[in-house]
């Protein structure tokens, strides 16, 4: 029954931009009853960017748009959607900017290459240094 209700809610949802004018979404400031689902929703919300704030996730913002997005996330989790599906849906809607977890794409490759490069550099630097030292002391 709850699922059906949540799905029905989704159908009446209008584009988020227009929701600023509507009364606050019920799940903006209300937790899900199932603690496991709430934990799932919270983990996802902490990695989604509030588009109207400076560097805050939707899990910690007072902006009304963040509230609307919290409502979206919670009601979709309650309807049984997987967190990553919801993320994809949001990325499709708002672009990569909305997710704090960078998606692996050609555009973000340097971001993931950097730690690998640093790791290789660190290993090479340390190995060279220590090899030179042990030769030097012999």
């Amino acid at each position: 029954m709850k699922r059906v209700l949540a799905l029905a809610l989704l159908f009446v949802a209008v584009p988020v931009g227009a929701q600023d004018l509507l009364p606050p979404a019920p799940y903006a400031y209300k937790q899900l009853d199932d603690p496991r689902q709430e934990a799932e929703a919270l983990a996802l919300m902490e990695t989604l960017r509030c588009l109207k704030c400076q560097s805050q996730s939707i899990a910690d913002s007072d902006a009304s748009m963040a509230g609307d997005m919290r409502h979206q996330v919670r009601s979709r989790i309650a309807a049984g959607e997987e967190p990553e599906e919801i993320r994809e849906w949001l990325v499709e809607r708002y672009g990569d900017y909305v997710t704090y977890t960078p998606q692996v794409r050609p555009l973000t490759l340097p971001l993931f290459a950097a730690p690998i490069v640093f790791l290789i550099l660190a290993v090479v630097l340390l190995r060279r240094r220590f090899r030179k030292r042990s030769e030097g002391t012999e």
């Binding site: 209300k30 990695t47 805050q56 630097l125 340390l126 002391t137």
Partner: protein, 649 residues
Amino acid sequence: MIAELGLAMLWLAAALALLQLAAGAFALSARGRELGGIVRPVAVVQGVLCALSFFALIVLFLRTDLSVKLVATNSHSLKPFVYKLAGTWGNHEGSMLLWVTVMGLAGSFVALFERRLREATMLATLAGQAFVSIGFYAFLLFSSNPFERLPEPAAEGNGLNPLLQDIGLAFHPPTLYLGYVGLSVAFSFAIGALITRDVGPAFARAMRPWVLGAWIFLSLGITAGSYWAYYELGWGGWWFWDPVENASLMPWLAATALLHSASVLAARNALRAWTVMLGVVAFSMSMIGTFLVRSGILTSVHAFAVDPERGSFILALLAIYIGGALALFATRASTITEGARFAPVSRESALVVNNVALSAILGIVLVGTLYPLLTEAFDEKVSVGPPYFNPMGAIFFVPMLVVMAIGPMLRWRGDRAARVSGKLAIPALAAAATALGLVALAPTIKPMPFLGIALAVGLAVASVLPLVGRELKRTPLPTWGMVVAHFGIAVALFGVGSDSAFSTEKLVASRVGETHAVGPWQVTLSDIEPVAGPNWTAIEATMAASHAGGAASELHSQSRNFTSPPLVTSESALLTRWNGQLYAVLGEEADDQRWQLRLWWKPFVPMIWYGGLLIGLGGLLALIGRVAHDVRRLRAEGKIAYRRQRQGR
């Protein structure tokens, strides 16, 4: 009149900085040697003039002189005294004036007291310091004049951003600036030593107190900023990987690495090129931080200047100083030998691992902070946040923590692993026991907090090991400093792990009189009423919190309405207990006389900031130890010189 006086003194200080640079540079050549004598006095007067100019600006703000543009746009006659004072640096122009003032005073201090380096290296250092100052004087005088008058005095000021009207934040920027600018002195020493090819233990010892001082201020500044975000933003978060936060974290990471490599150079005359390089990198990070915050490239509460002209000016300064320093380094690097050698198992090696790991973390934070700006330039917006920084940083942070536990136990030059492994078994066992306990008691814990808490316990035990078997009274202060700072890292890490693993959250719409459970607490909303402050009105919620049937404690959270400028802020209510913090926030009014309440129970969360304070305290102990040693040495040298003089007669 005061404004004109302040501006005149600023121009004079800039002219003196120019003189300091020219005289210092000429004095390095054979022909201009006589000019060397004026460099130190000029540096002192330059610093004092700049400080007087800043003092003039403070007076203007305290008097709320509305004929000055900066005062009119950032202050208000009805603001409390302390925020009028803080308003002086709570804006772009004022904060840049504070920057050059601190830099000038630091230069004066070096000119007056630093005598252990060769005179040529000192001249090059002071010339370098002047070279950096000139850029910032030019920036102030040509594009950010703090003393500009309005054609007509304003009737009333605009006020200060209410989020910034907070005692913590009033003193947060100057603390960070002291840190940034302390690194400018390290930078100047590095430049001076590079120019005269004089990189050695004396250079490291002269630079070290400045790095330590800068590092203490950065540690405290970051801690205070994080606590401010925690209680002022009203959602219980304390670190967001926001570019502005990263702007203060990057110099801290570089300064931490520099501090450790300077210790190797001072004690063992090793890691010469690396230490100089870090000296350049550390101040570069300060300037990149300033650029990020000041240029308006990020639009946030911290970014007061939204003006591309200023952004390009700072970018140009950045290119000149970082580019110039790196070019100088490249031309001189081949002439600096690496110095004394050491075995793979030794104190030096542990510190090398620490340096490499810190540099890699710095690289990740830098890439993660700048990459979104880069893609934005190509009209592609991406966000980089905690899900990137946390695991990527952990790749290097976890091995670093392990080495941090072992390193202080190792001897310089070379050691045997077997000698220390017995002692190190104790922290290893403590970490393992904690891990087992966590698995048993909290099987659902996520891998990162699990690792964090276990490592924190291990490190806490390991960090005090260097004191075991020593006569505590005779243990040098810098050793105490190291122990306290490392222990502080463990304490902070424990708080971080505990907060992310065990926090409980409760969001409710509550009527007056209703009770809600959060963690082990029962919180009753007992009253809602309006209150008024000096420049705001608010709705205040009174809550009664009780723990396991014990006596109730009262909490007050407000939703404040500021009028000038108009803004609503949430004032969170905190109840601190030894084992955590209860965090309560009053939100908006919901339907039918119910109010939104946000409640959190955060076990051991204050340890994050206690840890930060311990880190700062550790730095302070080390600094006192080093400076006391220097003072004793100076006195002894003075006595010897005095005796020689008398014997000569």
